[in-house]
């Protein structure tokens, strides 16, 4: 009888294979499946862990670097001072309190509401620490030029505190404190006015700020010797503007104005029109060495705002005085000769500056200006006063609610740190990319976990129901041909 090849192949296979342990085959398949699932789960967990680690540690990379490398790796110069600034100040976890000895800092950064007491200390590579529990509400901490000293009014004692960031030494100047909020702490003889700039002398010994004798009426520029705690009023009714390079001569400033008659005297008695300013060169005892009359090349527009305490600052070489004039059409930067008061160069308008927090010198022709745009992006701009060209040097995550960055002068003149992929972009994604990677991954992981739990629950329920397994346990060792 003739047979087909199909039958012959089937017979040959049956003959070769003989009896089969099919339960073992099924059990082996299940075991292989479970091993594969376990591997996939482990790989998934490892992947998520890796992503979480990367997304948390990359911005916190500075934490590792701080531990692993000398201070020079985070923007500190060989001489111990800071020599660089951060390009991006953004999300960080965790944010700890400022330690006693963090090394030189590049900046202090205000938190939500610059007049509040929310402040962060920022290293050159962008690493942040909290300062806000320490600083008196309304005060503005100040870094020395090299970033190694931090002066602020302490919230707990209402006294001036100077932290030596390179040595960890903290000095509380018990005779100098807050003058505006009674009751004044006992023993305080010189009060520092809140919301006033503090100019460090180039050698980091003296502070020039705004204040006066407690209980007295005289207010003006005050010089504080941070090594002894001695303080002296060096000019009445003037604003501090900075130091000359010798560190023993300082510059004060006072605006001059006239009252123009108002066309509606019933409503307003007069309009203040600023005509110029008087600059005084003063020594540490308050002796006036020279008085210079500052006059703009073109008269400042009516209704300009000039005499804010944040306005004037002296260039590092002591030759120029920077002033910011707020006009109805926007802010202008102007510079004047300290020697004779004439305006140097042209006025530089600040475009798209919704708010200007501070302005300081970087070098003889470049200033650093912190502005907030209409979209509430706070950024530090480097502006060349000769050409008027500006570039963004530091951007701050809007989520921090910051409106001001106070940079140590040497930091502003140093190199840029960080920036990475996003540079100075202020796009939403540049600040929120971690959330767009980490959160979806966590959500997927949670969903996967829920599905696994549901499957396990259903499997358990099925296995407990009577008669559910009776049909599946028989073994067939012969089977039928395919």
């Amino acid at each position: 009888m003739s047979r087909t090849l199909h039958q012959a192949l089937d017979d040959a296979a049956r003959d070769e294979l003989g009896p089969l342990d099919l339960l073992a085959l099924a059990a082996g398949a299940r075991a292989t499946h479970h091993r594969r699932v376990d591997k996939q789960k482990a790989a998934g967990v490892a992947l998520v862990a890796l992503v979480v680690l990367l997304t948390t540690l990359v911005p916190g990379w500075t934490v590792l670097r701080h531990v692993a490398v000398p201070a020079t790796g985070s923007g500190a110069g060989a001489g111990g001072g800071v020599h660089g600034y951060p390009v991006r100040i953004g999300w960080q976890w965790p944010v700890l309190d400022l330690p006693a000895k963090p090394g030189p800092l590049a900046a202090v950064l205000s938190g939500a509401g610059a007049v509040g007491n929310d402040w962060w200390a920022v290293r050159a590579d962008g690493h942040r620490w909290r300062l806000h529990l320490s600083v008196y509400a309304g005060d503005r901490p100040a870094l020395s030029l090299d970033g190694t000293r931090l002066a602020y009014l302490a919230a707990d004692s209402n006294t001036l505190v100077v932290g030596h960031l390179d040595t960890g030494r903290t000095i509380q100047l018990r005779r100098i404190g807050v003058d505006s909020t009674p009751p004044v702490a006992a023993g305080i003889t010189i009060g520092v006015q809140g919301q006033s700039p503090k100019f460090w002398s180039p050698d980091g010994r003296f502070l020039l700020t705004l204040g006066g004798s407690v209980g007295g009426t005289a207010r003006g520029a005050v010089v504080i010797d941070t090594t002894t705690g001695a303080a002296r009023l060096v000019g009445r009714d003037v604003l501090p503007a900075g130091w000359l390079p010798d560190g023993r001569t300082l510059v004060t400033f006072s605006a001059t104005s006239v009252q123009d008659p108002n066309p509606n005297p019933e409503i307003v008695t007069g309009i203040t029109r600023y005509t110029g300013a008087t600059v005084r060169i003063v020594n540490l005892t308050g002796h006036i060495k020279r008085v210079v009359r500052v006059t703009p090349r073109e008269a400042w527009p009516v209704e300009s705002t000039l005499p804010g305490q944040w306005t004037p600052s002296v260039s590092p070489d002591g030759r120029q005085l920077l002033m910011k004039i707020d006009t109805r059409s926007g802010a202008l930067l102007q510079r004047f000769s300290v020697a004779d008061g004439h305006q140097i160069g042209r006025s530089v308008p600040l475009v798209n500056a919704y708010d200007v927090c501070s302005s300081s010198w970087v070098d003889g022709h470049t200033v650093s200006v912190v502005t907030t745009t209409g979209s509430l992006d706070t950024a530090r701009l480097s502006i060349n006063l000769r050409s008027g060209a500006s570039r963004t040097t530091t951007v701050v995550d809007p989520h921090l609610g910051s409106r001001c960055i106070e940079l140590a002068q040497h930091a502003a003149a140093g190199r840029a740190y960080g920036g990475g992929l996003w540079g100075t972009s202020t796009s939403w994604l540049s600040w929120r990319w971690r959330q767009w990677i980490v959160m979806p991954l966590l959500a997927l992981l949670a969903l996967r976990g829920l599905i696994l739990l549901l499957k396990r629950w259903r499997s358990t329920r099925q296995s407990r129901s009577p008669g559910s397994t009776s049909a599946a346990t028989s073994s067939n060792t012969s089977g039928s041909p395919a």
Binding site: S2, R3, H6, A12, E16, L20, L25, A26, H33
Partner: protein, 176 residues
């Protein structure tokens, strides 16, 4: 238990036979089938609801075998005819002898020849489906089938007498 064990008990032998015929290696056949089953056990309920879990498993077996043969050198194993049985075998022993002869002849085919024979004559797949599984054209399947049958006749001429010549003819196109 969700019917998976019952399926293995019922269809496992057929799957193993197919795998062995495709590979000629019992251990590898068992590994291939177990691996294919492990890939369906996690979604067994869904496959059962889909209607035809065996098709999925067979497909996995075919793919695993074809993948392995692609990785291996596809050179033909040692050639040469099977030694003729010495004298005429007694009735009843003919069947055993022919199975042994077929096993030896299959072992001497190349992987591709073996696979094309099994897929076409044992699994009754059409040329198109076989070509799809083997990753080649239908024309190649046709020529490989002709080569394999010719080779089988050369290696085991007595099989043609045992099974009849129609057993060595190419089946009509059947789609599975």
């Amino acid at each position: 238990m969700d019917g998976f064990e019952a399926f293995v008990a019922a269809r496992g032998p057929a799957l193993l036979r197919t795998a062995w015929l495709l590979t000629g290696d019992r251990q590898f056949a068992e590994d291939v089938v177990q691996e294919a089953l492990s890939r369906v056990v996690g979604r067994w309920g869904r496959l059962v609801r889909g209607g035809d879990p065996e098709a999925y498993v067979r497909r996995a077996v075919y793919n695993a075998v074809v993948d392995r043969s692609r990785r291996r050198s596809s050179s033909e194993v040692a050639t040469g005819g099977v030694a003729d049985a010495d004298g005429r075998a007694p009735d009843g022993a003919d069947e055993v002898l022919s199975r042994l002869t077929l096993q030896q002849a299959l072992a001497r085919l190349t992987d591709r020849q073996r696979q094309v024979l099994v897929l076409r004559f044992y699994e009754d797949l059409g040329e198109t489906r076989t070509a799809e599984l083997m990753g080649c054209s239908a024309g190649t399947v046709k020529s490989q089938t002709a080569h394999a049958l010719r080779r089988l006749r050369e290696l085991a001429p007595e099989l043609a007498e045992t099974f009849g010549r129609e057993g060595f003819t190419t089946p009509t196109e059947v789609r599975r």
